[in-house]
């Protein structure tokens, strides 16, 4: 009996000493961390893509809690998650629609013929050092996939010399926009189904020569639009998605098929 009591007492003594040590440590080395940081981080997607400009989701959460802001909103999280974050921080958040990357070019091999045989490195930035464009159109997509490599969500692929974007997978993080040396990618709200698939700012005749579906700046779309949502600047039409109602009048009016109506069916699968 006695031999079990002594170890018991010794252990109890150890426990007491350790417990007081723990108590001292917990008071002395206490670092306050807002528990909401963890909660916010939980709500974020956790992809650490950097699309918001912070060094990852944790950094975003710290900023959100410490500065009490959800600006810029996480480009990847859906509206629901961002609202949850905002509720947590007692903030009002306006519901922003999901944005998707869109390629403003349809210069496939068929539409814009190749004017050279490029032998260099398969990288858009590297190719730009050798030639502005591999196709007849100076503004066309190079089709070497720098944006595809920049995409963390496997939402882009190369097809017929241009990039095709899977809008379901696209999270709108915007990393591809910076990866494109020709600034051919932009963000549009996913509900905007009408797209001007051209970036050529040359005069109509030159643009037409360069690509079959080039926007020639004929203004027909501008006239056809009842919402005043489409405008031609520098011989190139552009759509104001705030006003566009997806009516499709401009698509019908366009003589070169440079405007495209994108329905759900054009989603491609990799």
């Amino acid at each position: 009996m006695f031999e079990i009591v002594i170890p018991g007492l010794i252990l109890a003594g150890f426990a007491l000493i350790s417990a007081s040590g723990l108590f001292v440590a917990s008071k002395k080395f206490y670092v306050y961390e807002d528990p909401r940081i963890d909660e916010v981080e939980e709500l974020l997607p956790g992809a650490n893509c950097g699309g918001c400009g912070f060094a990852g989701c944790r950094a975003y959460a710290e900023n959100a809690v410490n500065n009490k802001t959800v600006d810029p909103p996480c480009p990847v999280a859906d509206a629901e998650a961002m609202q949850a974050v905002a509720r947590l921080l007692d903030l009002e958040v306006e519901v922003k629609e999901k944005q998707v990357a869109t390629l403003l070019c349809k210069g496939t091999h068929e539409n814009s013929r190749s004017v050279m045989e490029y032998y260099g490195i398969d990288d858009c930035w590297a190719a730009m050092l050798v030639a502005n464009s591999l196709k007849a159109c100076a503004f066309s997509c190079l089709g070497l996939g720098s944006c595809v490599r920049a995409c963390s969500f496997d939402a882009m692929l190369l097809k017929d010399g241009i990039v095709v974007i899977d809008e379901e997978k696209c999270t709108g993080c915007g990393m591809c926009l910076q990866a494109c040396p020709k600034n051919l990618l932009f963000m549009r709200p996913v509900s905007g189904q009408v797209i001007v698939t051209c970036s050529n700012t040359d005069r109509g005749a030159d643009a037409r020569k360069a690509c079959k579906i080039a926007c020639i700046g004929c203004m027909k779309c501008e006239k056809s639009c009842h919402q005043n949502a489409i405008h031609v600047n520098d011989f190139l039409a552009s759509i104001d998605y705030e006003k566009c109602t997806n009516c499709g009048d401009c698509v019908a009016a366009c003589p070169t098929n440079a405007i495209e109506m994108r329905g759900q069916e054009v989603y491609v699968t990799a």
Binding site: V115, M116, Y119, G120, I121, D123, W125, A126, M128, L129, V130, A131, N132, S133, A138, D202, R203, D206
Partner: protein
């Protein structure tokens, strides 16, 4: 024979292929159509001073400089401005060009040149400021390839003491003989041009560096300067890239330009012989820089030669003049094969910096795929700048450039020695240029 000078580190010995070394400079006719690129220099973009429909005279300003580091562009012929639009230049970049329709197409260009009045100026009466101003007005840029405005190069800040002027007659690139022919045929003019430049720096000693594979140029210039104490002909070993500024200074004076530095940091100014000739023309004929000697060569050219062309002449004119079979051409290079740039349009115009037009068929250019780097170290061995090319390109490919490598990557002179010897056919120069782009984007 005295010891030939050269730079020590790196360098390669590509075959010379100077096919047109003995071909006299010929003069063509005014082509039916000129496309004059607006920006032909490194520096601030120009402002176009003409508009569609304007009539222009030979020597009229087409676009004027907008700052110190900028250089005017003039019309080489009388004519009318047809159109201002964007067009692919030699080298594949699409830029703004001014299309001019000459009033007298087909007129011999030699006649045009001979009709320019000659002024017998007294060099001694010119002040350095007047010289710099005239050079600036004439739109003279470095004609060796880079196109840096010459007046800027000739205006070092006062704290940089210039004690040597080097005239670059090395012409180390294979095929190109334009400078070589200029040195042989216009040697006395070059000496006069040098005298003008010498005035700028209190009559500093002048060294003319010429590679040994141009014995006739060496001989002619040597005879001309034998009575001149302060001009020295420096025969150089034929080694690439001897014509690179930093390498030439190392070879001639054994001075090492510091990393990220300029020749003026070691008290040197370097000028290309063609530029010196342009300076001579600007003073004695009051000509702006509107024409230059271009070597036409390559394995599909039957009669390789050198031709004086007005700036803006489309390549198609040269093709016709030299009776080149375009069906055979697969590769068109503006400049030499080592540093020149490929082009895809036969309508692209000659610019102030086009030293050669080379036409090749597919015999010289079977498809070469990039293979994995073997780390064989050839690129390090031949790099005249002593860069660890193999390591840097791996970093650039992975988009993870080490901080200590950034300065070195920017030091690359893009001479192409590394890719020339690479057994794995890696596009090392393109990778290095991509690296520079990435670094510039980060800053």
């Amino acid at each position: 024979m005295l010891q030939l000078r050269t730079f020590k580190r790196g360098g390669i010995y590509p075959p010379h292929e100077k096919l047109s070394a003995d071909a006299k400079i010929i003069f063509g006719e005014i082509p039916g159509n000129l496309l004059i690129p607006v920006n032909q220099h490194i520096g601030r973009p120009l402002k176009i001073t003409v508009k569609k429909g304007d009539a222009v005279k030979r020597g009229d300003l087409l676009a004027e400089s907008t700052g110190f580091i900028s250089s005017n562009v003039h019309s080489p012929v009388d004519g009318k401005v047809l159109k201002i639009f964007r067009f692919p230049l030699l080298g594949g970049l699409i830029r703004e060009v001014i299309q001019i329709q000459p009033t007298e197409p087909g007129k011999s260009f030699k006649e045009v040149l001979e009709s320019d009045p000659y002024f017998d100026i007294d060099i001694g009466s010119l002040t350095p400021e007047a010289i710099r101003k005239r050079i600036e007005e004439a739109g003279i840029v470095g004609m060796g390839g880079a196109g840096f405005p010459t007046h800027v190069k000739l205006s070092p800040p006062p704290e940089k003491k210039i004690d040597a002027l080097i005239i670059n007659g090395a012409e180390c690139e294979p095929y190109i003989t334009a400078d070589h022919r200029v040195m042989v045929e216009r040697s006395s003019e070059i000496i006069k041009g040098i005298k003008i430049l010498q005035r700028l720096f209190e009559n500093v000693p002048v060294y003319i560096g010429i590679e040994e594979n141009k014995p006739d140029a060496l001989k002619i210039l040597d005879e001309l300067v034998s009575k001149d104490g302060d001009i020295l002909i420096v025969p150089l070993k034929a080694k690439y890239p001897q014509g690179g500024e930093k390498q030439l200074i190392k070879a001639v004076l054994n001075r090492e330009v510091p990393s990220k530095g300029l020749p003026m940091d070691v008290g040197v100014v370097v000028q290309n012989v063609a530029t010196v000739l342009a300076v001579y023309d600007a003073f004695y004929y009051n000509r702006p820089l509107t024409e230059r000697v271009v070597t036409v060569s390559g394995n599909v050219v039957n009669q390789p030669g050198n031709i004086l062309l007005p700036v803006g002449t489309p390549v198609s004119y040269v093709v016709k003049k030299f009776e080149i079979d375009v069906q055979k051409v697969r590769l068109l290079i503006a400049g030499g094969p080592m540093m020149g740039r490929t082009s895809h349009s036969f309508e692209s115009p000659v610019t102030k910096t086009t030293s050669a037009l080379l036409f090749f068929d597919n015999r010289v250019f079977a498809e070469r795929r990039e293979n994995p780097c073997l780390r064989c170290g050839s690129c390090l061995r031949v790099c005249p700048m002593g860069l660890d090319v193999a390591l840097y390109t791996q970093m650039i490919k992975a988009d993870k450039i080490a901080p200590e490598a950034k300065d070195h990557i920017q030091d690359c002179i893009e001479c192409g020695s590394c890719a020339f010897v690479c057994p794995a056919d890696r596009r090392l120069v393109q990778w290095m240029r991509l690296g520079k782009t990435i670094i510039r984007r980060e800053n």
